[in-house]
């Protein structure tokens, strides 16, 4: 990565690495003990490592002179590698905690490996580590291609990627040490949250500066989605994480929100993390890689406009469907339910647009596992958005809420939609990045596809059964008007489903490991940093 930077950029990088070291040292010195001190030390070590590497390269040769005529793909490659590392680790933890629900005696007697600490490790690792890296990496690729411009500068992509991964590592290691805000999908403590804001501002600035250099008059649809992802995630992250630290030299903080307001803010954040992290960004990915891989233009331009603004406007309202029948005012619940149902229109418009794009390319879907990943992703996107609208309806929610049905719904979205589109994008991108026609092991892509589909299917069906069984057992009355089942009986009834779920998870994880190994084999032997792997800018306009 350093060889692709000019001497001036290496000096800038050195300066930033020293700042990171100073921040790390300050945190460690101020906190002295506890998670914040450990995290400060991590930042210090990372900063020193980068500083030494950059200082040592100050007298090395500059990159070749025509660098500016090429796309900058090295950050994308780094992001893809991080995506797959996080996939294997975080999905591995997911399989492990799933197994613990079937076999709780296997819990080791150490605090750090307890279920309650590993569960947020799994969610953060998968959403932010796997999903976030995939989004950032592909956004750099898509942004440059659709703008026909090189990234606006060469240092900030690395600040974004390395800084973002530092956030992810801080977050998950914090949970293992017992530091958490307990807000779901926003568990990281205040200093990590502040750090992410800084990284996000750099990301946004880089995106806008590159867009400003574009040689296409129009901004392509994929970029609208990536922009919505960047902007709205910033808004959600900042508002939900507003907190007052007990001390600036300590990890612990209290959210400024309390009670019913906190519940509403949390699920406004929580559901829109699904909308703008796990949907908008990945739709951006779909809108670029599906047409590229299938060789077909997006079916309807108008439909993409309607669905984009529909998703941006409607999604924000729906968070309150997580709070049906609770102490949240009834009218807010009703609004959330209504918008959840309306949301089906733009969601299915997107899914339909994607599937209709494949018209005329169905033979490719049959033959090409990579394109099939994207097709299945679009189908699962349609299925899980339908399920989401359905579960948001108040009486349905009375049965499904608090049960494993929710878990099944989330995984039909994350395994079936998010992970599938990521794998489709990776299998399209990695050969390009390596200057090859295909992955190193094309047969393994086929294997991965079927492992992923089978794993998702088993997982989701098991959780549907589990959730509906739980929901019904909790509400069944006998002839005398007493509840028929104790809570414990409903726990016992879950055992076969929890076992099946773990098996589904193992299949899915095996596929992800296969993908990581395949990617490693494909990228192996490609010399990066000397410019050979960079693709030249396309000079002719798209249309």
């Amino acid at each position: 990565m350093i060889r692709s930077l000019t001497i001036a950029e290496r000096q800038t990088g050195l300066f930033i690495a020293i700042i990171l070291s100073v921040i790390g040292l300050t945190m460690a010195a101020a906190a002295r003990q506890g998670p914040m001190a450990v995290h400060g030390t991590m930042a210090l070590i990372l900063g020193l490592f980068l500083a030494i590497a950059l200082a040592g390269a100050l007298d090395k040769p500059s990159p070749r002179a025509d660098r500016e005529q090429n796309y900058y793909d090295e950050p994308t490659r780094f992001g893809i590698v991080m995506t797959l590392i996080w996939a294997v680790i975080a999905m591995g933890v997911g399989v492990w905690v799933a197994a613990l629900l079937y076999w709780p005696e296997a819990t080791p007697p150490w605090p750090a490996t307890s279920f309650g600490r590993l569960r947020p490790f799994h969610t953060t690792g998968v959403i932010f580590g796997f999903g976030g890296n995939a989004l950032i990496a592909t956004s750099f690729h898509v942004l440059q291609r659709t703008s026909r411009a090189r990234l606006a500068d060469s240092v900030s992509p690395w600040v974004v990627l390395i800084g973002f991964n530092l956030f992810c590592v801080w977050a998950v290691t914090g949970y293992l040490m017992g530091s958490t805000q307990s807000k779901e999908y926003a568990e990281a403590e205040w200093y990590a949250d502040l750090w992410l804001v800084v990284i996000w501002v750099v990301y946004f600035a880089l995106y806008m500066r590159t867009l400003a250099r574009r040689k296409e008059p129009h901004i392509y649809v994929a970029n609208w989605y990536y922009l919505a992802f960047i902007l709205v995630v910033a808004m959600l992250h900042i508002v939900n994480n507003l907190a007052l630290p007990v001390s600036f030299a300590g990890t612990k903080s209290f959210t400024i929100w309390a009670g019913v307001q906190d519940a509403m803010v949390q699920w406004w954040y929580g559901h829109n993390a699904v909308a703008f992290f796990l949907t908008a960004g990945f739709l951006g990915m779909l809108y670029y890689f599906l047409p590229v891989r299938s060789g077909r233009p997006i079916w309807s331009y108008r439909l993409s406009i309607v669905s984009f603004w529909g998703i941006v406007f409607f999604y924000i309202w729906v968070g309150s469907h997580h709070l049906h029948y609770t102490a949240l005012p009834y009218w807010v619940q009703t609004l959330g339910m209504t918008f959840s149902v309306m949301l089906l229109v733009p969601s299915w418009a997107s899914a339909g647009n994607a599937i209709a794009t494949l018209n005329g390319a169905w033979h490719k879907v049959r033959d090409d596992a990579t394109l099939r990943f994207m097709f299945v992703a679009a189908v699962f996107y349609g299925l899980s958005t339908f399920e989401g609208s359905f579960l948001a309806i108040r009486p349905v929610n009375s049965l499904s809420h608090y049960t494993d049905w929710t878990v099944g719904h989330v995984h039909s979205g994350t395994l079936g939609w998010v992970a599938m589109i990521v794998f489709g994008a990776i299998y399209t991108l990695v050969p390009q990045l390596s200057g090859r026609e295909d992955m190193a092991w094309p047969r393994a892509v086929e294997w991965h596809f079927w492992l992923a589909v089978a794993g998702t299917f088993i997982y989701v069906v098991a959780m549907w059964n589990a959730g509906i069984t739980q929901g019904l057992m909790w509400r069944t009355y006998d002839a005398n008007g007493a509840l028929s089942y104790s809570f414990l009986q409903s726990v016992q009834a879950m055992a076969p489903y929890y076992l099946l779920r773990a098996i589904g998870g193992v299949l899915f994880l095996s596929g992800a490991i296969l993908c990581a190994l395949n990617t490693r084999a494909t990228l192996k032997g490609v010399r990066f940093g000397v410019g050979t792997a960079d693709r030249p800018l396309v000079s002719q306009p798209a249309e």
Partner: protein, 242 residues
């Protein structure tokens, strides 16, 4: 309209502004009015905040991720009221930073847990759940018997006081002492805890050993406090179902 969008696509700042506006409306409409609730939903007269020891227990509850499997929100549905007790009121979590309503019941709801089981049951259950409930799938928490680090409790309560939780000067000044006294009923400080937090505070050696303050003391004190900070939910239920 299409023409308008055709031109909007050429303006990156136009898209940025459009996205921010479109994505702000829903949140503003649903969240802003909730802040007038402070004036419309009254805090019950008998409502008390958590004691220092219970607050420390809440931190243990959060640290161990208990909220991932246990909700604290009884919905107003017949079967939930029959199974757990009176439905939860907004005022009950008004001082909770953050709320712990939860989203999943791998284990049962805990909103009405206080007083349902003995302290000894909780201790045995937390150390080895399957010793008490053979088919439980809850993990064991044997490390909770280590000493509680109570040095930060006063500062934490001070922060909560700045956020509006009613910890007055007397409560703040005695935070660490009250944490210790609540789990040693025969000590001199025990009367002070009752004086500052009211008579419905449990003052017991929760883990059975009054000489040592452990994380187990804190967590069990917290679990026994759940649903006992006010009697209002029970009063409402008995009015609704005479």
């Amino acid at each position: 309209m299409l023409r308008l969008h055709y031109n909007l696509e050429k303006l990156s700042m136009g898209l940025v502004v459009g996205i921010i506006v479109a994505a702000s409306i829903g949140g503003a409409v649903e969240i802003a009015p909730l802040f007038t609730i402070d004036q419309t939903v009254e805090i019950p007269d008998d409502m008390r905040p958590l004691t220092p020891l219970e607050l420390a227990g809440r931190e243990v509850f959060i640290r161990e991720g208990c909220y991932a499997c246990h909700s604290q929100m009884v919905r107003h549905l017949a079967d939930e009221i029959d199974r757990y007790g009176p439905y939860s009121l907004a005022s009950e979590s008004a001082w909770d930073h953050p709320m712990l309503w939860g989203s999943k019941r791998t284990g049962p709801d805990l909103a009405r847990l206080g007083g349902k089981y003995s302290d000894a049951w909780h201790v045995a259950h937390l150390i080895d759940p399957r010793a008490v409930v053979p088919t439980s799938i809850m993990p064991a928490y044997p490390w909770l018997e280590r000493s509680l680090d109570a040095s930060d409790i006063g500062a934490q309560m001070g922060t909560l006081a700045r956020l509006g939780v009613p910890y007055d000067d007397a409560r703040l000044a005695n935070a660490a002492a009250d944490a210790l006294a609540q789990s040693s009923p025969d000590s001199d400080g025990a009367a002070g805890v009752a004086e500052r937090y009211g008579d419905n505070v449990a003052i017991r050696a929760f883990d059975g050993d009054p000489s040592r303050l452990t994380e187990m003391d804190a967590l069990v004190a917290y679990l026994q406090s759940l649903g006992t900070q006010t009697r209002l939910p029970y009063a409402i239920m008995s009015e609704e179902q005479p």
